[in-house]
């Protein structure tokens, strides 16, 4: 019976120490959480500033001024736009692998045929290369 006080006192000591440690740990972590939250908020604010700057730098008016100054680009003339079926396809182009849709094949191991060396098989057309024009289908891009 007389040990009860002693035991209680010891338990108290242990619990207090444990609790102190726990609280200390919690504080440390809260500190870290707060710092991270601050950092996130700061980063978000920075992103907003950068987005605003990007919007300022990519204003259509500014882009046009830069384009007029440094690029030799003009608005697209209607005659430059053709749809795919208007293009005169040469036969070798139609058969040539370069213009055929790339075949998506899962790697299945042994019986996988080596990919055809597309570039080598296309006859060099040189000056007859098709012009690089934007190709629209009517009503596309809506």
């Amino acid at each position: 019976m007389k040990h009860i006080s002693l035991i209680t006192f010891l338990i108290l000591l242990v619990v207090s120490y444990g609790f102190y440690q726990l609280q200390y740990e919690v504080e440390l972590r809260q500190d870290r959480v707060a710092k991270l939250e601050n950092q996130i908020a700061q980063d978000k604010a920075d992103i907003k500033v950068l987005e605003a700057e990007w919007a300022l730098l990519s204003r259509p008016k500014r882009l046009q001024q830069l384009s007029d100054r440094f690029l030799e680009l003009a608005p697209i003339d209607p005659s430059q736009i053709r749809s795919v079926d208007e293009l005169a396809m040469r036969e070798e182009h139609l058969e040539g692998a370069a213009f055929a849709p790339r075949q998506e094949k899962a790697p299945t191991g042994e019986d996988e045929t080596p990919p055809a060396l597309a570039v080598a098989e296309v006859p060099s057309v040189g000056a007859e290369r098709l012009p690089l024009v934007p190709v629209f289908n009517r009503g596309a891009g809506q």
Binding site: Q23, Q30, A34, A45, V49, P75, S79, F136, G139
Partner: protein, 564 residues
């Protein structure tokens, strides 16, 4: 002193001992419970309560951001955003040498008057603004001065990266971030709620690239013809979504106080109402064709001007003969149009105008949306003048929206600036038949191929449209020298995807137009310049056809001009 003896207690010793022990145990348990409760609470406080105290103490400006949601266009281009900024304030009671401090501050801060500053700094209050919303450089410079009593406060600034390009659509805020005009005002609460609930930006139907092209073409025309103002709208013909809305002159919403004149704040595209002139003939044609008043080959006597009460209705390009419907439209004959509407009757005409939404203030997001001016009495005279666009004043927005309905197969939509408007607000309804709509397309193409709108013909894009030249009404009459010229167009006219409306306020003719200031000379060329620029951006492919199939039939109905 009295000693307690066994004789004093009346209870038997054995019973006493038991009773005392039970009391002690009871007390111990009570205290035990209380301490257990306290311990739990202490642990609880240490672990959780402190966390909330933490976050309450740590509320910087970074958390305030943003007070209002961003506004973006259909491609996500930023039109309005909240940025953190610094404002400089002072506690005048702590500032020691107010005169010297004011001098130093005025040197590093732009736009601050040292005398005003000194007065503020020597006041007896404990708070005074020095300058609000400064740049980081200014903040650094003031910090370097090291004047005691000066403090920096985090504030929010609304930035409009597109500047004047969006002035009349997005609008602007007060210095305390309350919406004062445009969408900022219309969606003041919504923008706050969105920011609070983290719902992302307000997405508009506008396309900044198209907006820029319109802004530039209108500006060029305004300078060329020395006009007082200009307005332009590009609208999706099938949904009535506004892709571009420009009003000139404009102002910089980042510095709204900078506008020199009130007229810069006026939104001429949706707020200003004007007598539009001949563009209204499109409505008269649609009315006649839709209600069987006349068919394409019906002819009307346009030989002589019409005398009705004190008015004389004349033609600007008199042919002095009988004209059929396509001719009336392409030569823009006032006499012919007036005769058609006389056949239709004024009741039918008024109902038709009402159906097209021309007689009421349109349901549109902008607070700056004008209410049309309509005749008080709709008698024969008014009916005739309205048939060619006089005696009624509407906004460009109303013209664009109703023309969209006439050419898109006949469906009228609610005009909107939002990309995803609330579906409940949809008021779409069929206003004319698809057949009539096709006839209107053919007539509008005819005007551009053979009539008054030839200057609007953008090769490859099959523009159809109608010119409108109106004299401005002045006290007691009309001013021949003050015109409002407009052109309303749709392209490609055989399957209209976009409607374009452009308007010039008081353009003056010059050498290039042989002195003419009419819509065919001033407004129509804007469309020719604009359409080839915006069509590729909007994904409209050039037409293979060079005419509307029905227009070819109409062309055959036209009596060839005899050159004199």
């Amino acid at each position: 002193m009295r000693t307690i003896t066994a004789q004093d207690t009346p209870i038997a010793p054995g019973r006493t001992l038991r009773s005392v022990r039970s009391r002690i145990i009871f007390t111990v348990m009570l205290f035990g419970l209380a301490f257990a409760g306290l311990s739990v609470r202490v642990v609880d406080l240490g672990l959780s309560a402190e966390a909330s105290a933490w976050s309450a103490a740590r509320s910087g400006a970074a958390d305030m951001l943003p007070a209002r949601a961003d506004i973006v266009d259909r491609n996500g281009t930023l039109l309005a955003t909240d940025l953190k900024t610094i404002s400089i304030s002072a506690n005048p009671q702590k500032v020691q040498h107010s005169g010297e401090a004011a001098q130093q501050l005025a040197q590093v801060l732009g736009g601050v008057d040292p005398a005003v500053l000194e007065r503020r700094l020597s006041s007896t209050s404990s708070f005074a603004w020095i300058k609000r919303k400064v740049t980081p450089e200014e903040q650094h410079a003031v910090n370097q001065l090291g004047i005691p009593g000066i403090t920096f406060r985090d504030e929010i600034q609304r930035l409009y990266p597109q500047g004047s390009l969006t002035a009349h659509v997005v609008g602007y805020n007060s210095i305390d971030n309350e919406g004062l005009s445009g969408l900022e005002r219309a969606f003041d609460e919504e923008l706050r709620d969105r920011a609070a609930d983290n719902e992302g930006p307000l997405r508009l139907a506008l396309d900044m690239r198209v907006q820029h092209a319109m802004h530039e073409e209108l500006g060029a025309a305004m300078r060329q013809f020395n006009a007082a103002g200009a307005a332009g709208i590009v609208m999706d013909a099938r949904t009535s979504q506004v892709v571009a809305l420009v009003s000139l002159p404009d102002f910089d919403p980042n510095d709204p106080g900078s506008a020199a004149a009130d007229r810069q704040y006026m939104n001429r595209a949706s707020q200003g109402v004007y007598e539009m002139g001949s563009t209204f003939k499109t409505y008269t044609m649609a009315l006649a064709l839709e209600h069987g008043v006349a068919s394409m080959d019906d002819a009307y006597d346009a030989t002589h001007p019409i005398q009705i009460s004190r008015f004389t209705i004349r033609d600007d390009h008199p042919k002095a003969r009988w004209l059929n419907l396509p001719e009336i439209f392409m030569y823009s004959s006032n006499i012919g149009t007036a005769r058609i509407v006389a056949d239709a009757g004024n009741g039918l005409q008024k109902d038709f105008m009402q159906t097209l939404g021309l007689l009421n203030r349109p349901d549109f997001e902008l607070p700056e949306t004008g209410t049309p001016m309509v005749p008080e009495n709709w008698r024969n005279v008014q009916s005739m003048t309205v048939s060619y666009g006089y005696g009624i004043a509407v906004s460009g927005l109303q013209v664009a929206n109703s023309i969209a309905a006439l050419v898109n197969g006949g469906t009228l939509h609610r005009p909107t600036l939002l990309l995803n408007p609330d579906a409940r607000d949809d008021i779409s309804r069929q206003v004319i038949s698809a057949e009539t709509s096709e006839q209107v397309q053919a007539l509008m193409r005819l005007v551009v191929e053979k009539g008054t709108g030839r200057n609007a013909d953008a090769p490859g894009y099959l523009v159809g449209g109608k010119t409108g030249t109106a004299e401005k009404s002045t006290y007691g009459g009309y001013n021949r020298d003050a015109l409002v010229t407009s052109f309303v167009a749709a392209f490609p006219i055989d399957d209209p995807q976009y409607v374009v409306f452009v308007m010039l306020d008081e353009p003056k003719g010059n050498e290039s137009t042989y002195g003419f200031a009419g819509a065919g000379w001033t407004a129509a060329p804007i469309v020719r310049g604009l359409v080839p620029r915006i069509a590729p951006l909007l994904g409209v492919a050039p037409s293979k056809d060079d005419s509307h199939p029905m227009t070819r039939e109409l062309v055959r109905m036209i009596t060839p001009e005899v050159r004199s």
